[in-house]
Amino acid sequence: MAYSLSVNGATHQVDEDGQTPLLWVLRDTLKLTGTKYGCGVAQCGACTVHVDGQPVRSCSFPLEAASASPIVTIEGCKGAEVEAIQNAWVARDVPQCGFCQSGQIMSAVALLRAIPAPSDADIDVAMSGNICRCATYNRIRAGIHDAAGQLRHRQS
């Protein structure tokens, strides 16, 4: 069955089974391979994308539910929060192997949009579903605080 998908501002016609995980449509059909397959059972967060502005696990999101909402992947994620996160990630060398990082960044961006100055507890709650097997959690947390600081500095 054909579905119309809005991904990163562009409309795509996709002819796949409605029960196909959005992750595989993004990666295999649309060739947007920045979104990673980690576990396939919504446990690791590597496949996080934004649907209607909310972070979701694309491995656990059926295509048929995705056609009505704007989707943003790591390739199309833009804005002040994204720039601040990118700067902080580079400055702190946050990624190690990097495999989980697109999911980490998508969750971190959504967090900063919801809570511009998050506490450690806010970060723990928002990022708890994103696993990093290199255990860069302290750098991720510091990077989010740095990014929040950049955003405050821009506004002042």
Partner: protein, 226 residues
Amino acid sequence: MRWRRASGERRRFGCLSILASLVALLVLGVAIAFRPHALPSSQPLVAAPARSTGSALRPVSTFASIADPSMRSLALFEEAGRVIEHPRCMNCHPRGDRPTQTAAMRPHMPWITRGPDDAGAPTMRCATCHRAINFEASGVPGNPKWKLAPIEMAWQGKTLGEICRQLLDPARSHLNRAELLHHMAEDELVGWAWHPGGNREPAPGSQAAFGALITAWLETGAACPV
């Protein structure tokens, strides 16, 4: 023979033997402290045992032989309790901010909290993973109304009698008798317990059979176990 030391005579101690004793005690203490230990391992929370086994619920008609209405009411609720205390129901009635999952009722992974509306924190919603259906591709269960029971309706750690009295207390259940019956017999999210998808064991019987038990229990005086 002298029985007492002469005054002024000093008692003599063997310093070497005392030192040796202290060293021996030290060695013994270190040996006890560093003796091999079995590594601690996590244990699953034990689900409350059901009073009877089998996947079906006894129909209301089989309770007709109990002449005393109060005793019949009690028996009806205890049969309904097989559903209430089933992990499919108990997992979403936690006594804290985190649900449990699986038949072992282990803490939910990933680490999530109930949030202000019992559907997750604003930055980590239940809907981050749980959608409107049981999604076979990922094995993640779902329902359009997916959320936790309010904390006032916490069931875990309570006896069936305590749960019974809680159900009948509108201050805690937020339900009058009619709403309570509707919740049990017709609520879509409650109904998920009989259609959990994946390899999850459904609650005993059916929602219709469960609703019939609750109806009969209410009609016979809504007796609660002690």
